[in-house]
Amino acid sequence: MNNVNFLKPNRKNLNLYLVIGGLFFTLGIVDFCLNNFYEKNITGFLPGFISFFTPLIFGLIGLHLIRIEFSGIKILDELNKNINTNNFNAALSVSIIILIIFGVAPLLNWFILDANFIGDSKEACTGGGACWVYIKVWFNRFIYGMYPNTEQWRVNATFIIVLGFMGLGYFFPLKYKKYLTFYYVIFLPIISFLLIYYLISGGEFGLEWVETGAWGGLSLTFIVSFFSLIFCFPIGMMLALGRRSDLAVVKYSSLSFIEFWRGVPLITVLFMSAVMFPMFLPDGTYVDKLIRVIIAITLFEAAYTAEVIRGGLQALPRGQYDAAKSLGMGYWKLHLLVILPQALKLVIPGIANTFLALVKDTPLIFVVGLLELVGMLNLAKTNPKWLGFSMEGYVFAGIIFWIICYSMSKYSQKLELKFKTDR
């Protein structure tokens, strides 16, 4: 039992240090929990300032005591290496642990333990936590907007069919792979447009007509981002080629187009599509709000896509151009057969990021009065029967958007890694 040096713990009295250190650490956490959740201050006899920091001090002492090099215990060594290399690091670790407890416990209460799940009216929400009943009741509105309840199968059917067509490209036999671009860039947009026109909008084949003003919710988010993506891609490609062209007029008109759209906020572009665009058309022509919005977002995103594609074009070595030219290829042949296939492969992650930004930008269409998910939340929030549940709504929308965007960004990172090793 001799040689116990608390300033410099060592292997000799390993278990003693571990027990005392563990006790101190637990004491710190318990002190913190008691302070915050039970309003009991076990260190109240100390002056206020010190008593406030006791959890940190106890935790720090605890971590200091278990910082034993080459202890021979695998878990302990890993722990020390990762969160406990020196006193400063230990202090940070303890602070983070305390912060996590401080944040997670009330959140858990709000989300699950005190929350209400059962019922179908505001009265069912009695606990102090979240009222998920609200989400349950409004779920259809959040997904389909004001689309009539009985007709919602049409939206579902359209999405399933379009997804099916999209997935079909994956199973193309190798022989027809060269038509894949054609399939995605021309065939798929036409099919989806026809589906949306006849199935979601309706008005023919005995289907009830539903005006675009009634579309909304998450499905509208998907429709807007899907079409904007499909259209902005070819436009962006042309702009990128234009910007790198030798022809002065083509170059500078592409350049100013790109710089113009990149220099203004999307919200003013949407304002423009709402109030300025009708002024630019012959009197009496009416273009549907949704189409105007899709045009606006398409042009806006096309400028960003163009810059991404230009990055890919620039990354190709000059030799590719020279080699293709020496084979006697003209401008279009050179670009379509040699440059673009390589450049586009390089920029797929960048395009994915642009698409991510596009999805995150769609809530802005509330400016012109179209209500996708976030817009529907704001509408539901003002319903007199359901006042006071804005928090639940925003959290719900946040989770949905987070899942969409996070999975997409992870996928794009995966693609990035995959293409990196190729070169």
């Binding site: 690091n89 203004v264 906020p265 002024m279 009197d283 804005s390 928090m391 929308a397 946040g398």
Partner: protein, 381 residues
Amino acid sequence: MKFKKILPQFLTLLFIVLIFGFFTMNAQDNMDTRGIEFGFGFLKQEASFDIQFSLIDYDGSRSYARAYLVGLLNTLLVSIIGIILSTMLGVVIGVARLSPNYLINKTASFYVEFFRNVPLLLQIFFWYFAALRALPMPEDAPLIFGSSYMTIKGLYTIAPVWNNFDIFFVALIIALVVIYFFNKFAKKKQEEEGKQYPKFLISLGIFIILPALTFIVGGVDLSWSFPELKQLAKTSFTYEGGLGIPPELIALTLALTLYTATFIAENVRAGIQGIGKGQKEAAASIGLTPSQVLKLVIMPQALRIIIPPTTNQYLNLTKNSSLAAAIAYPDLVLVFAGTAMMQTGRAIEIVGITMATYLTISLSISAFMNWYNKRIAIQEK
């Protein structure tokens, strides 16, 4: 061969001219039928609407041009605050993501992954309509740090009251000029004679001492005005005196900062990771101290990677601040493209001016960036 070059250019030009011609003609027609005349004369008319938050003197009797200025200043205010805060947060988070400490590393990446993947508008709504609405009413608000009140109507805090502020301000500018020339001088000395001055300490000294002197000799005086609770009606309270920051500004700044900081953090991380280990080792092997290694070798190279994308984020932040319109913070878009346009009905002029303003900000910053990039680019032989 020549024909091949001219034809596409001619077609492009024709296309542009046709489109613009078509739009202009229609616009002319439409304005004629509605009896509107194109022009910017309306800017001088009386605006006759109030703006609830303004940095300069403004009331309904001022002109539309003045209202435009108020909106522009409010946009710049929220952008500048956002830029400063998000840079500080972004750098901390970016460095934290490189920390060997598992907990810190993971917490930082959780923060980044969470906030960058939720739409900014949703975040603004969350802070404004959900989080800040949960704050107490003015009469129930507790005192924070002996100076401020966080209430549902905004943050009320102390405001500085200056006497002879202009003298202090001039002293501040003189101090900056002196520091600039001192640094130039010190650099020259070092290059010529190899003599090193403690640049940072002396600069800091000048920066503190010179303005501080004005308190003694210049008659500058600083006191603080505290917010005080005042009853407006039986159940309606507010604070008087001090500095009142509206909840719209707080929500907007919070959301913009938390969102943009994630991108800046990623830039900082990429920048620091982009510097090879060899650089550090080489610098250490020629006898530089760790702080010199960081200051003279690592940071100049890392900044070269970090600054361009970060300026892009600053631009994005400025453009994103236009989302203010959604929560009624009186920025350029809300005041000018919103209220002023509703009143005058001059869609083309007003949307045009608004876009031109943002475009000017963006283009001037990117012009500066191009210049800067050229300046710091590695001169390869």
